[in-house]
């Protein structure tokens, strides 16, 4: 079933809830190999996003909503994750411009654009122990699912599952981007917090998809 702006709204709401629920855990992960603010940053950002999205007119398109998500994240999150997620949602918004309903191809385009935005801003590759380690497998899984004729819901579920696995795979890595890269081998054994928040966002997307 094609996804409309209602899905985007619910995605935002569920994301905000998951981020709030996992605020402490994200802080803990970031304390291990970063500076301990990722949960706080994301929670501040998604609380603001929720409020902003609620204020949007009822007829706002998916693209409009995603753009509001983007600009709100950019202006409230700060840190590395703010501009990265901001760019991701900005590119996603542009990718679905003028569409009221997103079919499987639309969903994949959205995810690709988001991932490409993150990579363009942050220059990280898979294996660098960043949120890209969640997004790139997610996009690949979504592409595969689309090719196999999956439903929108199945595509998003595949993406979410792959993101989660990708995030878990950051545990043994040495980081090459972000603060964890300062630690060298001491980053080994810790999960990248940005990949965890990314997996949460994608889980939310799948769960609210009808």
């Amino acid at each position: 079933m094609a996804l409309n702006s209602q899905w985007v709204r619910e995605w935002v709401a569920r994301s905000a809830q998951y981020i709030a629920d996992n605020r402490t855990e994200l802080i803990r992960l970031d304390r291990e190999i970063g500076d301990g603010d990722h949960g706080e940053n994301m929670d501040r950002g998604f609380k603001a996003v929720s409020a902003k999205v609620t204020e949007l007119p009822a007829d706002a398109s998916p693209s409009d909503i995603l753009k509001t998500v983007a600009t709100t994240l950019i202006s409230t999150v700060g840190g590395a994750s703010g501009p990265l997620y901001g760019t991701a949602f900005l590119k996603a918004s542009q990718a679905v411009k003028d569409e009221d309903e997103l079919d499987g191809a639309g969903i994949v385009a959205l995810l690709q654009a988001a991932r490409d935005g993150i990579v363009a801003r942050g220059k990280a590759e898979v294996g660098d122990k960043t949120m890209v380690d969640a997004w790139t497998p997610a996009v690949r899984a979504a592409e595969d699912a689309l090719a196999e004729g999956a439903t929108e819901q199945q595509i998003l579920s595949a993406a979410a599952d792959a993101a989660k696995v990708g995030s878990e795979k950051t545990d043994p890595l040495i980081a090459r981007k972000g603060r964890a890269s300062y630690l060298g081998e001491r980053a080994i054994g810790h999960r990248d917090p940005g990949s965890v928040s990314s997996a949460l966002l994608l889980k939310a997307a799948a769960e609210v998809s009808p």
Binding site: D37, G78, G79
Partner: protein, 332 residues
């Protein structure tokens, strides 16, 4: 966690209110937060804007004033500010001669200042950025986000600020800032971690006879944990990393900065300074300018960093030039 705070989420806002009340010579704006010289914009003068996460006080707000920064943009604790306040501050202090952004090299700071520069440019403000990366504890390679910007930032802000104050144009001020960054090296250590107010728990763990070598300024773990040892041995390790890196050579004149992390008593900083000075003297390197105190901190962390800047006559002159800020002041 015990702190002199009210609500952890109001720490930055309330501290800014305090700064505004204590320093009438500053204009402190909230929503979006920034601190600027009350007399900004200064027509025809290149303006300097710096910023970054809070928790490093007096960096950067304590360095706003005559001969140093025109504005500082504080983010949440240890979190880069978003682009909005950076744009706001940039517009407010631009005197028509362009604005230099002084950015510490962290992914978040770099990205947010980049976005802000784009937005300022869209409003026809000429912006240049210099990215500070003086921390030798971090290997600068393809495999890292590069060196961090730490206490050397203060030296860049002072010297580039003096260049702007004497009337240098944007290219010249940016070039001097780049040159200071190229000639300064820093290394830090910690005896204790620090606790980010909203996190509520210490940033890392340290045993009663361990210290953390190669620490940054965000409570992030350092290069290695080591068994505690006398001050002189610690300083020697740090100085070796600093001096070998540039490298500093016999015959160099340098500025030596021993910077407290926020929780270190001054008496200990002077003990560290004594040995750092001795280390340099043994290598024929002459300390001609000194600075000892809390300038780039990491909340209540106990520890310190040593920074060495190679001086030439121009740097020395610009260092000596009058400065009037909350945290650094001489000559007026």
């Amino acid at each position: 966690m015990k702190k002199i705070i009210n609500d952890p989420s109001e720490v930055v806002a309330e501290a800014l209110e305090g700064m505004a009340l204590a320093h009438p010579e500053l204009t402190v704006k909230t929503d979006p937060d920034h601190i600027r010289r009350a007399d900004a914009p200064i027509k025809g003068k290149v303006a300097l804007v710096s910023g970054g996460g809070s928790g490093h006080e007096p960096l950067h707000g304590g360095f706003v004033g005559y001969g140093m920064l025109d504005a500082a943009v504080p983010g949440a604790v240890f979190t880069s500010p978003t682009p909005d306040p950076i744009v706001e501050a940039t517009k407010a202090v631009d005197g028509g001669a362009g604005v230099l952004h002084i950015v510490k090299n962290y992914t978040g700071d770099v990205l947010n200042f980049e976005t802000a520069a784009d937005l300022a440019l869209a409003e026809d403000i000429e912006v240049r950025a210099v990215v500070i990366n003086d921390d030798v504890a971090v290997k600068d390679s393809l495999y890292t986000a590069g060196r961090r910007g730490v206490a050397g930032t203060v030296l860049v802000e002072k010297i580039a600020g003096a260049a702007a104050q004497r009337g240098d144009d944007l290219d010249a001020v940016a070039a001097i800032a780049e040159r200071v960054n190229a000639e300064v090296r820093t290394m830090g250590m910690a005896l204790t971690p620090c606790t980010v107010p909203h996190a509520g728990e210490p940033s890392f763990e340290l045993g009663e006879d361990e210290y953390e070598l190669g620490i940054g300024i965000h409570g992030e773990p350092g290069r290695e944990k080591r068994a505690m040892e006398p001050a002189d041995a610690i300083v020697d390790r740090m100085m070796t990393a600093v001096v070998d890196d540039l490298p500093f050579r016999s015959g160099d004149n340098v500025l030596l900065l021993v910077n407290g992390m926020g929780g270190t008593p001054l008496i200990e900083l002077y003990i560290a300074f004594r040995r750092a000075h001795g280390y340099l003297a043994e290598r024929g390197i002459t300390v001609t300018r000194s600075l000892v105190g809390n300038y780039t901190t990491s909340l209540e962390m106990q520890g310190f960093s040593v920074s060495v800047l190679r001086l030439d006559d121009e740097f020395t002159q610009l260092w000596d030039a009058p400065v009037q800020t909350a945290a650094l002041r001489w000559g007026r």
